[in-house]
């Protein structure tokens, strides 16, 4: 048995070493015990590589009173601007390509740590689809609950390597610039990405039930929920009609309205959506546009966007249902 124990101990050494390396590099500040890699390097490199895990760990360490939850379109609703206007503490709990089911899982995750006062869900119709589904939050939460999962996670291992490389070479680990010109990227979104979003659609009943559950829970616990339907450029809006989904999009608005919470809608023909200059690409608005939305929603002065009311919903349903009023 002695021989076995000695060999087993030697065999385990690399794993212990690896655990030590991860604890020292700690790209997501999970352990917060080493400052070998400065926070600015981690923020610049680890965060874009796995924004979800970075944000969840940060939120766990330092939860906030108010939240905005969304996908990449929520980046340009700058937290600093919101905090400046409201004077309240906010946290942006987001990730690239976050799906709506994941948004709600993030709500549950956040409320388990601290029940927030206000939560703003940043969304668009393209997320309200049974097939727009991903399952990353549970995995990230598993990591948060068990340091061993963090140490032996593939994405953490990759990030360790890239963050160390970026630190040594003093250059960003990943480039966020699309590998094509703005015009080509724009067209690619209109053709390819739109097909990805709208080419396969089914009404997400389970997702809507979950939405109702979240709103019920929030109301019961004194949390104010708001949905912001972010703008797409009119060329992208036209793709919804191309795929015959206008009625489904209006049903989406109606469903949100019927939850009994504030729903701000910017995804229709208006002075933001008609102008390409307000967008980086057809689905991502610019920081300046984000500031305009912040000024309207958080100050309550609607000029471009609209607060969904029964009148708005009725007028929308009237336009897409030819039988209505017969």
């Amino acid at each position: 048995m002695k021989k076995f124990l000695i060999k087993a101990s030697i065999f385990l050494i690399p794993f212990l070493l690896w655990a030590g390396i991860v604890m020292v590099i700690d790209p997501f500040n999970y352990f917060n015990v080493s400052s070998l890699i400065p926070d600015r390097v981690k923020l610049r490199n680890a965060k874009p590589l796995n924004r979800l895990m970075f944000n969840m760990i940060q939120y766990k360490h330092d939860p906030s009173d108010n939240l905005t939850i969304g996908d990449s379109r929520s980046y340009n609703l700058k937290i600093a601007q919101i905090e400046k206007i409201t004077g309240d503490d906010y946290f942006l709990l987001n990730s690239n390509a976050l799906k709506l089911n994941e948004s709600f899982e993030l709500y549950w995750f956040a409320s388990r740590i601290k029940q927030p006062d206000k939560v703003f869900f940043i969304l668009n119709f393209n997320m309200f689809n049974k097939f727009a589904y991903a399952d990353r939050v549970k995995g990230a939460e598993g990591i948060l609950n068990n340091p061993l999962f963090y140490i032996f996670d593939r994405s953490v291992a990759e990030t360790c390597w890239l963050v160390t490389k970026a630190y040594i070479q003093n250059s960003p680990a990943v480039s966020t610039t699309p590998p094509m010109t703005r015009e080509k990227f724009w067209d690619w979104n209109i053709q390819v990405k739109a097909n990805d979003h709208y080419g396969k659609f089914s009404y997400p009943e389970t997702l809507y039930d979950e939405m109702k559950r979240v709103v019920r829970h929030a109301k019961k616990n004194g949390t104010e929920i708001t949905f912001i339907i972010v703008p797409h450029h009119i060329e992208m809006q036209a793709r919804v009609a191309d795929y015959g989904l206008t009625a489904d999009m209006n049903r989406f608005r109606k469903d949100l309205f019927e939850l009994g919470v504030n729903v701000y809608d910017y995804d229709f023909v208006n002075e933001i959506t008609i102008d390409r200059a307000n967008f980086d690409d057809p689905i991502h608005f610019t920081i300046a546009t984000g500031d305009r939305i912040i000024n309207e929603v958080w100050c309550g002065k609607m000029k471009i966007g609209r607060l969904l009311t029964s009148t708005v919903i009725d007028s929308l349903l009237l336009t897409d249902d030819p039988k209505h009023g017969d």
Binding site: F11, K130, D135, G139, F152, D153, D196, G199
Partner: protein, 489 residues
């Protein structure tokens, strides 16, 4: 407690250390306590079912051993069968029969008011009841001596490595091993660890990865067209194989470390060239159980042809029902029975024709065709096994055959996989890992893979071990332990 949990990673080494530190006369007690603890980690109160099954089998066997009268011995046997099968029926099948009776009575407008029994299915109940049943039947037949020590017998029923998902061990094989004094053996320990390692690889890296796509498709069959259904069915064939044989490997490996040899449960089943061969390689402990305690007592193949076919069908229908109280399992068993009957009817004339035409069916080409055909039949049957209802089977089959052109439309195939939370790289990795599994199985048919590894220098050996561990650690699809499929049976 799951094998693939942190809990087990702590539990098992502690048990092994205590086992070798304790004097032999107390080891049975340690194994009994730890086995009960292992089971109670899942649901504490259901330990009483194991206790009832154990005590009844023990007492009835003792009763049989004390009596010379055939009638008394038979009474004890029937008592044991009634209690054990009663437990199984009550907890596993009552609701199935009750619900179907309700549907039948409703059809004839007859009031039927037997309520549904709201209870969770006890993990592993089919496994340990079959183990106690085999013991009682063997004692009755005089094929195994009665065990007078209740403690040792209780360990036999509840031995934690194989308690919840087998292999279903016979008393004649496992019970005597508890009386043997096992010293720590370096070679046995490393051999057991290697088997466990491979079991974990199959379960965590392959089965759990494939489960993501399989669950997406089979839990919502109407949402996916033919290509994802086809891929999901192919994946399920490997998911269930890796899940269950992975469990068996971990069970056999962990028992081996403590000095126990459990029976082999899988022998490269997908290399079978006929359905009858498949059943000699798949879940061997269960198929031999059914052979010895149901098929042969029914008369086996030493009866008229119609009766033989009936025996085959009956055995496979019961085997299907053993897997779960659902029409899908029953039909799955019946389909396998039908495959076997067909094989027995068509096999001899087909062989005669081949001989007449001087076709060498032993040639590699024909062997390959037979293998692929058998795999195809097994996969077709897996649709029934995995689907949640017969209605879903209809939807899945319709998706598979309704539009043959869909399999050629490359642009539509990409979009058809949307909605599972998977990337292309996940699919590619799944196929790569299935390839690794098949490569291992091919090597293992000719040589013992681990003996080949043992013959290499230390550096090569350790590189292989590290590679497998790294794959397990870094390629587990989710940071969450997934249940084993066979726990539900």
């Amino acid at each position: 407690m799951l094998f693939n949990s942190i809990h087990f990673l702590v539990f098992f080494p502690v048990v092994v250390c205590l086992y070798f530190l304790l004097p032999h006369r107390w080891r049975w007690a340690l194994l009994l306590v730890t086995s009960y603890y292992f089971y109670m980690c899942w649901k504490m109160e259901y330990i009483f079912l194991i206790l009832i099954s154990t005590v009844v089998a023990y007492l009835t066997a003792m009763g049989m051993s004390r009596s010379e009268k055939e009638k008394t011995r038979k009474t004890y046997l029937v008592l044991s069968l009634l209690v054990n099968l009663g437990l199984l029926f009550g907890f596993k099948y009552f609701n199935f029969f009750n619900d179907n009776a309700r549907i039948l009575f409703d059809r004839f407008n007859i009031l039927y008011s037997v309520p549904t029994f709201r209870v969770l299915l006890p993990v592993g109940i089919s496994f340990y009841t079959f183990q106690t049943l085999s013991y009682t039947i063997d004692v009755y037949r005089g094929e195994t001596p009665v065990q007078k020590h209740l403690g040792y017998f209780a360990v036999y029923v509840s031995f934690f490595p194989q308690l919840v998902a087998g292999p279903i061990e016979r008393s004649g094989r496992l019970l005597p091993q508890f009386f043997e004094k096992h010293g720590f053996s370096y070679s046995r320990a490393t051999s057991g660890l290697k088997l466990m390692l491979w079991g974990f690889f199959k379960k965590i890296v392959i089965a759990d990865r494939l489960a993501v796509l399989v669950n997406s498709v089979y839990n919502e069959p109407s949402a996916f067209p033919g290509t994802p259904v086809l891929v999901a069915t192919f994946f399920f064939a490997f998911q269930i194989y890796c899940d269950f044989s992975g469990y068996s490997d971990i069970a056999i490996g962990s028992a081996r470390i403590m000095g126990f040899e459990l029976m082999e449960n899988f022998r490269q089943p997908y290399f079978s060239r006929s359905i009858s061969e498949f059943w000699k390689r798949w879940h061997i402990s269960l198929s031999t159980w059914f052979r010895d305690y149901l098929y042969i007592p029914l008369g086996g193949n030493r009866v008229s042809r119609p009766k033989w076919y009936y025996n085959l069908m009956a055995t496979f229908v019961v085997s299907g029902l053993w897997h779960g109280a659902n029409w899908t399992f029953l039909c799955w068993g019946a389909l396998h029975g039908l495959f076997l009957v067909t094989e027995n009817i068509l096999g001899p004339p087909a062989r005669s024709i081949a001989r007449a035409l001087s076709i060498n069916t032993g040639a590699t080409f024909f062997k390959g065709i037979a293998m692929v055909w058998t795999f195809f039949l097994v996969c077709a049957a897996w649709v029934l096994f995995r689907a949640n209802s017969l209605h879903d089977v209809g939807i899945l089959m319709n998706s598979l055959v309704s539009d043959p052109g869909q399999y050629l439309d490359v642009s539509a195939i990409g979009l058809s996989f949307r909605g599972m939370g998977l990337k292309t790289v996940d699919l590619v990795q799944s196929f790569v890992f299935i390839g690794v599994l098949l490569a291992y199985d091919i090597i293992d048919t000719r040589y013992d893979f681990w003996k080949l590894v043992d013959a290499r220098p230390l550096l090569v050996r350790w590189t292989i071990y590290y590679a497998i561990i790294i794959l397990i650690l870094f390629f587990s699809p989710y940071n969450k332990a997934q249940n084993f499929i066979y726990f539900q049976f």
